[in-house]
Structures are given as C-alpha cells and as structure tokens.
Amino acid sequence: MAIQAKELSPQAVEMQGITKRFTQRRRWLIGGPRGKEKRALDDVSLQVESGRITGILGANGSGKSTLIRVLATLLTPDSGTASVFGYDVVSQPGDVRRHINRVSVEASFFKEMSPWENMLYAARLYGSGGQGTRDRVEAMLKRLGLPLDTLDRPMKQLSRGQQQKVAIARSFLTSPSLLLMDEPTTGLDPRSKREVQDLVRSIRRDRAATVLLCTHDLQEAEVLCDRVVVIDQGRVLADGTPPQLIREHGIEHGTLEDAFMRLTGKRLEEDEEKDE
C-alpha cells in the first residue's frame, strides 16, 4: 500500500519550468510539409500542497491532461523538472507511481470484465489482491452508492456514471497519496455529476489524499477546490483561491467564470467550438 501523505514531503507536487512540445510527424515524401509544433506545456512552474484539492482550470487543449500525464510518468517533459512528494517523475518513476493514481475522463477498463475483475487487477498491480479484497471492494462500492449486483456484470453494461464511480473506487482501493483526476465529471448526467462531486468533497473532508483536479467546469472548480490554477495554451495565467481569483481578475460580485474569461480573453465555448 502507498505511504500516507503525512509521512512524505509537504509539497505533493513541484514543477519547475516544465515544457512539452508535440510535433506532427512529417510525411515521408521528399519536400513534404514540415511537421507542425504545438506547445502543450510552456514553462509551467507549480507547487501543490499536500492534503488539499487543487484545480487545474482550462479549456480543451489548454494542456491540463498533458500536465497530468507528466505527473503520472506517462509523458516525459522536454525540459524542466517535476517531482511528486520529492520523487522526480523522470528519474524515479517507480517511486512516483507508488504514491499516485489517476481517474481519467475516459473509462480505462477492460470493458468485458466486471468491476470486481477490474478492481482485483488494479489491487494486484498495487501490492494487494489477497484475502479480504472482495470485502474491501464491496464496502467501497457501497460507500459510493453503487448497487452490489453491478459488481459481477461486465463494465460495458454499466452507465457512464457508474463506470466513473468504479474508477474512483478503484483509485481509492490503492490508497494513493496523490489522486490525479482528469475531468472526472465530463459527460456525466447531472445526478452522477453531483454524486462524483460529493465524493471529491468527502476526500477533502477526510484529508485522505491530495487531489489535483483538472476540469473545464468553472462551477465545479469554484465549489470543490481549495486553490485553482488557470492555464491556457500551456501557460499558467493565474493561481490562487477561487475568491482570490474572482477578486483580482473578475468583476464585482462576479464568478470564477468572469475571472476566467478576463484572464483568457475568451469564452470557454470558443475553445470548445474550435476543438470541434
């Protein structure tokens, strides 16, 4: 099981000058067009304190997921350094991985396998899976409000909301010190969205883990996060508590959305339309 956050460095995440570029590959034809370069992260520096929920707020394509992937040791940055609880993500990936788990927007499950089989697989990868695992899984799902008869049905038969709850339960099962949540409520119906948000709230209440929550839902960020980092085109634009950001960048009696629009100089929908 993962070491609890309190035994670790007080800084859950430290990033210094992280840059990540992606280049579209050139065609093999001689004289073909040059590959286009996109800076997904551009000189990002960031600190995340242990035991808090930090929101990474940005539109689609702003670099949120790239940032999460760098911390999850799934992407190597081109330059800069990043560490999780003092462990470097490039040179000490094994130590980093023991302390993290990730809930992503797409359900990373074997869809024909049941929630139980998927969770047993996860438990095995994180050092458990022996006797008592089934009881722990059942207790976890009960806490998340999932009917127990879903436990042995194929994942593909579960609703998106139920799948997302299983994803969260799976991450809890491994007791991560840092939970990376990449748009965990995107695509959920209002009820499921509310339930997942309640779960994140309960993590904050229990101070069980540090949460890095990537979202483009401004309301969600305002309600759930102790602190919000706004990023756009791979750059950090602002960093503070939601009231602080509203005060410094928004309008009088405004919302986080007002502050976001002022900071990025555009509406969220514009980015989403551009992505489509």
């Binding site: 799934l74 990730r102 869809k111 396998m113 990868l125 458990s128």
Partner: protein, 278 residues
C-alpha cells in the same frame, strides 16, 4: 526489502495471469471461434495428407503415413507457437484496444513483470489449446508414434519457450513504435515466420536468401528437433545441439527484447504515443 519488492512483483505477475484468464473467460465466444478455426486448419492439413493416396501417390516412394505425421506435427506446433507469439506480440495492442494501456503503464511494477506475466498466461493458454487440438488429432487419425522419443521432444519444446517469448516481446515493440502501423507489422512478422521456419516443409526447399532467415529463426530448430524426436526417435543426447541453439537464442533474445521494449517505452513517453490509438 528485496523480499518485499519480490513479493510485490510476484503479486502483480499473478495479477496479469489472472487478468488474462478473466479476459479469455469473458471473450469465450471469440476464444471458441479461434479454437475451432485452429482445429479446422490442423484437421484440413491432416486430411490433405490422407487425400494424397487418392492422387495415386500411395505407390510412390512417399511414405504417406510419415508425411501425414510430418504435416500434422508442423500444423499442431504452429498452432501453439503462433498463438503464444500472437498473445505476447499483441500485449500492447490489446491494451490499446481496451483503452487501459496508460493505466497499466503507470502501475508501480517493473515492465519485466508485466511482460513475463503476459508471457506466462500465453504459454499456459497456448498449451491448453494445443492439448485440445492434439486430443482431437489422436481421436481422428491413426497416428503411429510408437518410435517417438518423448523426453527429447519435450526438452526441445521447453527450450523453445525462451526464444519464442523473446521474439514475441520484440514484436510487441512494434505497436509501441507506431500505433498506426504496428499491428499490421506484427501480423507480417508472424506470416514471415510461417514461411521461413519450415512449418510444412524442410527449409532446404526455400530459395537461398530465405534459407538464411530460416536458419536464424528459433522456430526452425523447434519444429525440426521435435519432428526428429517424434518421427525418428532421436534421443535426448542427439537433441542436445538443437536444445543448445534454442537456449542460446533465448539467452540473447529475451534480454535484448526487454532492452528494446524499454527503449521503445521511453520513446513512446517522449513522443506521447501511449495515448494515441492510431
């Protein structure tokens, strides 16, 4: 400390076997179809040999029963070898299809545990499927294996495991290098192995350049060695050179393939290829 770490890795190793078992069970309809397809392929080869007599070859110098055995051993072994190769080579592709590749790659385990876990599951499942097909062959054909030397055949079979896994791991690198073309290239490698390894004929009938590739394929020594043991009763002592070559190939191929996989994984993380599904 080392004990804890080993226990952790062993637990994950078991997890991969368990996961594959669950996947085979959940995809049972597909598995049944593949088994039937393999069975039909092997039986077709057997009946093709039986049918040679109706072509007037029974009076020729060709020993039809030996020919049938030769072909059936090749077909059965190819079923096993290609299945294990396929399962290992498609370890990454499978996870891409399912969308779990990032979850597995961010798990706190060594990559060698991941790959060896997949290899172990493939070997066990491959042997089970080959055993089922073998039983069908015994039931449907009059196979005279009275002169077979089983210990020698089994020793070659065991020695072939290492280079086979090495080849599989090497090929599993392809989908890591190219999410778009990797799967196709893996199929192509499997096809080339079928051509050059003497599955249905001795490699001496191939054009010289292909014979060179055949000599480099561990499957050539596996098929030839097992045939010699089963058809001509070659002893264990006589099989030692083939066993030695296979072990040597394994000792080279397995670490080299793991090293290559590590390099490919680092490249995939640098270029962001883990997420892309094609």
């Amino acid at each position: 400390m080392i004990g804890n770490s080993l226990r952790w890795e062993m637990n994950a190793f078991v997890g991969f076997i368990e996961r594959q078992k669950n996947l085979y069970r959940r995809y049972w309809a597909w598995e049944a179809v593949w088994l039937l397809y393999n069975l039909v392929s092997v039986l077709s080869i057997g009946y093709l040999a039986s049918g040679l007599s109706s072509l007037g070859l029974e009076n020729s110098r060709v020993n039809l029963q030996q020919t049938q055995l030769y072909l059936l051993i090749g077909a059965l072994l190819w079923t096993y070898l290609s299945m294990v190769f396929f399962e290992v080579a498609f370890a990454i592709t499978w996870e891409r299809w399912e969308g779990t590749i990032e979850y597995t790659f961010m798990a706190p385990i060594r990559r060698v545990t991941h790959l060896l876990g997949m290899c172990a599951a493939s070997l066990l499942y491959g042997m089970l499927r080959a055993a089922i097909i073998g039983l069908a062959l015994v039931a449907l054909f009059r196979l005279d294996l009275s002169g077979a030397n089983w210990p020698a055949a089994l020793a070659i079979f065991a020695a072939a495991t290492l280079p086979l896994l090495g080849l599989g791991i090497f090929t599993s690198v392809l989908p890591l290098l190219s999410p778009e073309k990797g799967e196709q290239m893996a199929f192509a490698v499997q096809g080339v192995l079928l051509l050059i390894s003497g599955v249905y004929y001795p490699i001496s009938v191939l054009p010289l350049p292909l014979q060179v590739f055949g000599v480099l394929s561990p499957l050539t020594y596996t098929l030839d060695g097992i045939r010699q043991a089963l058809l001509h009763g070659r002893s264990l002592a006589e099989a030692v050179p083939d066993i030695g070559i296979l072990l040597l190939m394994g000792v080279v191929l397995v670490p080299a393939s793991l090293w290559c996989f590590g390099r490919a994984e680092r490249r995939a993380k640098r270029l962001g290829l883990l997420k892309r599904s094609g």
